[in-house]
């Protein structure tokens, strides 16, 4: 927005009708641009498509008989990690940085999702994801340069982890070998943002070193691979250390007392931290290498219990920021949140006990939670719009 400096009278009382300096020529000050570029909506549509396809693939992997199960099943992880979460993170980063080129990242990952779901050769979609991650890494490094801090470094490291994991997948490595890198992408991104918010909380001289130690430990284990004993052990210890750090430093501990939307967001985070710790314990006592469902438990405790719970909480502020959709907080949102966490509990318990039926049904309950949440958001957006129209604002 062009800024025209105007002379400000020394005595600035509301009663003053004649400023002490001559009035400047009338300047049109543009109002903030409220339009949403069509690219953003298209990218969000791709993320929704990837979500539907990824969930479909997930149900198929749990044993439900569904059409196209065979072709989509192997794409479950990449579609959800890169197509959904990667696209959302990249879109947020692009909106924050305000240049044009960072938007190439979500555009590329959206394209990758379309290619994969449409049945193009897997390599095409895989390399589109790699390019998306490369652009996000570059954008995140720019953010580090603009604001050098541990939290911007965390976000950049997370983006690099997405790049490494996606590169390994494009080079035909099995998802189970590289899943640690994708987990590191999401964990470092989320915890990095919590680190930034923790500046509002009292900190000691040990706060930052402990954070670095916890994330470093987790990253070392995740990079080594969750199927190795050392990898699972380090990742598990790292997650426990991160949870302990968050329990002391995270702002959710305070904002939970504020009520309304702030409390809802805090509860989403705090419930997620419980699963983060649970995943840490599971990696230590029932690691993927030894327990039949160790991989499934740890992965879904983190991705559903922690990451998706965070997404539920932040949808209320990210949707307005990114695509100008403004849902209102309603207490009804607690229901799909509870169903989500119930589904994760059912899944982990069934995995521990080897109960196939429980595993299968937990997937449906998770899908129901997501569908319910989306419906609540849609209804509260429509309600907000009609209130807005009625008030004539």
């Amino acid at each position: 927005m062009p800024h025209v400096p105007i002379p400000v009278p020394a005595a600035r009382q509301p009663k003053d009708l004649k400023p002490s300096v001559p009035a400047p020529p009338v300047q049109l000050v543009p109002v903030p641009d409220r339009t949403v570029h069509p690219l953003r909506r298209a990218v969000l549509a791709c993320a929704v498509g990837a979500l539907l396809a990824g969930l479909w693939a997930g149900l198929a992997r749990l044993g439900w008989e569904l059409p196209r199960a065979a072709s989509l099943a192997s794409l479950h992880g990449p579609l959800l990690v890169s197509g959904v979460f990667g696209t959302l993170v990249a879109l947020e980063r692009a909106v924050a940085l305000e240049g044009r080129w960072p938007f190439a990242a979500p555009a590329l990952s959206g394209t990758g999702s379309i290619l994969l779901v449409a049945g193009a050769p897997t390599a095409a979609g895989a390399w589109a994801y790699v390019l998306a991650a490369a652009v996000l890494t570059a954008a995140s490094l720019l953010a580090v340069r603009r604001q050098p801090a541990a939290f911007t470094a965390s976000l950049a490291l997370g983006a690099a982890a997405w790049l490494i994991g996606s590169g390994l997948w494009a080079l035909d490595h099995p998802v189970s070998d590289l899943a640690g890198w994708w987990l590191a992408f999401l964990v470092l991104t989320i915890v990095g943002e919590r680190l930034e918010l923790s500046r509002l909380m009292p900190r000691s001289g040990l706060s930052l070193p402990l954070y670095l130690l916890a994330t470093g430990t987790f990253l070392a284990g995740a990079g080594e691979g969750l199927y190795t004993a050392r990898g699972a052990g380090l990742a598990g210890l790292g997650l426990l250390a991160l949870t302990a750090w968050l329990a002391r430093h995270d702002i959710a501990l305070r904002t939970v007392r504020l009520g309304g939307q702030a409390r809802f967001m805090a509860i989403c985070m705090l419930a997620g931290y419980v699963w983060l710790a649970a995943a840490g314990i599971l990696l230590l006592v029932a690691p993927p290498g030894t327990h039949a469902y160790g991989y499934d438990m740890a992965l879904h405790a983190i991705l559903l219990g922690f990451v998706l719970s965070m997404v539920f909480g932040h949808a209320l502020i990210i949707l307005p920021a990114v695509v100008r959709i403004r849902p209102r907080f309603r207490a009804g949102l607690y229901l799909p949140l509870a169903v989500l966490h119930g589904s994760v509990a059912l899944r982990v318990a069934s995995d521990l006990l080897g109960a196939e039926a429980g595993r299968r049904w937990s997937g449906l309950v998770t899908v129901a939670a997501i569908a319910g949440f989306a419906a609540c958001i849609a209804l509260s957006t429509r309600g907000a719009r009609s209130d807005h129209a009625r008030s004539g604002a």
């Binding site: 927005m1 800024h3 400096p5 105007i6 400000v8 009278p9 600035r12 509301p14 003053d16 009708l17 400023p19 009035a23 300047q27 000050v29 109002v31 903030p32 409220r34 947020e92 980063r93 909106v95 924050a96 940085l97 305000e98 953010a143 603009r146 604001q147 939290f151 911007t152 976000l155 943002e193 930034e196 918010l197 500046r199 509002l200 909380m201 009292p202 702002i251 305070r254 904002t255 007392r257 504020l258 009520g259 309304g260 939307q261 702030a262 967001m265 209320l316 502020i317 990210i318 307005p320 920021a321 990114v322 403004r326 907080f329 604002a393």
Partner: protein, 154 residues
């Protein structure tokens, strides 16, 4: 607007059911408007070192940082609030440049000011990044909302 602060945000913590008109809030606003501007002002050119207009600040109390649920005023994110009968100028910052909510908060501040001062011809809300925000800009009331002791007490 994310929250109009009507009971969903920090209500009840300052003075139960009365947080915007409580005596504590008004006296804090007056002292904020008349005391020295925040320490980063040495970076600003002389014409910019204006005290913060109390009516504009009072209006901006409704603009919350959505991540935190606390007003941008209490978080120390309002660097400048200048008001004449014809024009209002507000300079805002955020705690992090990686925050995608910047445009939203600017828009909410603009809407809030437009609703309150609808007879004012021009309203401009700008996002600025210098001086960089630091946690010591949080007001005592902001600290109270965060459950922390005010400055000067151990």
């Amino acid at each position: 607007m994310i929250q109009i602060n009507a009971g969903a945000g920090g209500a009840g913590i300052l003075a139960p059911g009365n947080e915007r008109t409580g005596d504590e809030v008004l006296s804090w606003l007056r002292s904020r408007a008349t005391r020295h501007a925040p320490q980063g002002d040495a970076d600003l050119p002389p014409g910019r070192r204006d005290p913060l207009d109390t009516d504009v600040l009072d209006c901006l109390l409704d603009v919350l940082d959505p991540e935190v649920g606390i007003s941008v005023v209490h978080l120390g994110l309002v660097y400048r609030a200048a008001r004449t009968p014809d024009r209002i100028e507000v300079d805002l910052t955020l705690t992090a440049r990686t925050c995608p909510l910047a445009g939203l908060i600017v828009e909410d501040a603009h809407d809030c000011l437009r609703r309150r001062f609808n007879d004012c011809r021009d309203i401009e809300v700008r996002l600025v990044w210098t001086p960089g925000w630091t946690p010591d800009r949080i007001s005592d009331l902001g600290l109270a909302l965060l459950g922390r002791p005010p400055r000067g007490l151990s």
